[in-house]
Symmetry: C2
Subunit: 191 residues, 2 copies
């Protein structure tokens, strides 16, 4: 018994990477201590040594997922353009990311809909909330001076993106960001 030792951080990362991989390819239910351990080339007991419980492992996995999926809020360098162009650019970035990361987004939804414990849902809700908030300021700028509400526009835009992600998950090959973007032009203020 016993075996080669690795620094805490590195081992945890390796375990998480294995769990992530399994979750992506075979679904959340396939993430069991034994399978993760086998995939990571370690013994099952070690998973609990580092993460206490399976819930602990899933919590950590969810954190990784949220960090890598819902943080593209930080606009790129092109931050100072006209409000509408900025909004359109943000939506475009998000939609194009979907085509690439749809598997991660799918996993996120799997977390949300199959692990209903508050522990998980609360974190996801907070992230969703932050996601919405990232769109509010620019939407308010866009609707300034019109009769429309910036908050409503933000809610609509986010609903659109989330609905689009379901499409991207269902049928990635037929998913086309341009179709949504062109329809979205209708939101542009006429002025």
């Amino acid at each position: 018994m016993g075996g080669p030792k690795l620094p805490e951080q590195e081992r945890c990362d390796a375990i998480l990477a294995a769990a992530y991989q399994i979750a992506l390819t075979e679904g959340l239910d396939a993430v069991t201590a034994r399978r993760v351990a086998t995939a990571a080339g370690i013994s099952p007991g070690l998973v609990f040594f580092h993460f206490q419980s399976k819930d602990g492992l899933l919590q950590a996995l969810l954190d990784v997922l949220l960090d890598g999926t819902l943080d593209a809020l930080t606009d790129p360098d092109l931050a100072k353009r006209a409000p509408w162009d900025r909004l359109e650019g943000m939506v475009r970035v998000e939609l194009e990311r979907l085509a690439e990361y749809h598997a991660s987004v799918e996993l996120l939804f799997a977390f949300y809909f199959s692990r209903r414990e508050d522990l998980f849902r609360d974190r996801i809700e907070v992230s969703f909330g932050r996601y919405l908030e990232a769109f509010v300021p620019v939407c308010r700028e866009v609707t300034a001076g019109t009769a429309r509400s910036g908050d409503d526009l933000a809610a609509t835009v986010v609903a659109l993106i989330q609905g689009a992600s379901i499409h991207a998950i269902r049928n990635p090959s037929s998913f086309n960001p341009e179709a949504l973007l062109s329809t979205m032009q209708a939101f542009r203020p006429l002025r």
Copy 2:
């Protein structure tokens, strides 16, 4: 052993009702043969006698769910109004149904994201496809004579409704159909 006898159909319905109830209130994972049997007041073996396997039970449950959730495509009597009014009416009906049936919709998503077998996904995809198709004709009418594409509009509208359902699931009390409907006015052709 042995017990009161019931006609096949009735027993199956009772089992399905129990399964549905458990799934709605405690999630899909809580739907086990034993729990369903207890809830239905019968013996565990009977579940398999009537549904062969757990997959069989879940298939039947999914059918019930799809029938009750994604079939509101049949427009009400107010079928012959102007295209835009018709589209707006359809969206309104769907959004208002969300507020009432969000638990069923949540269950539908749970099916989709946690049971990844083709057996389940294919049926859901077909239903989603039909759902989209129900919006295509009216969207084409709406965009006729404009530069916009009816199919793109339909895809956008469906994405919007599905995104809205996620909102309705996350936070039913803060879900307000009117916000989306008013923003959607932007899609109305100017003409």
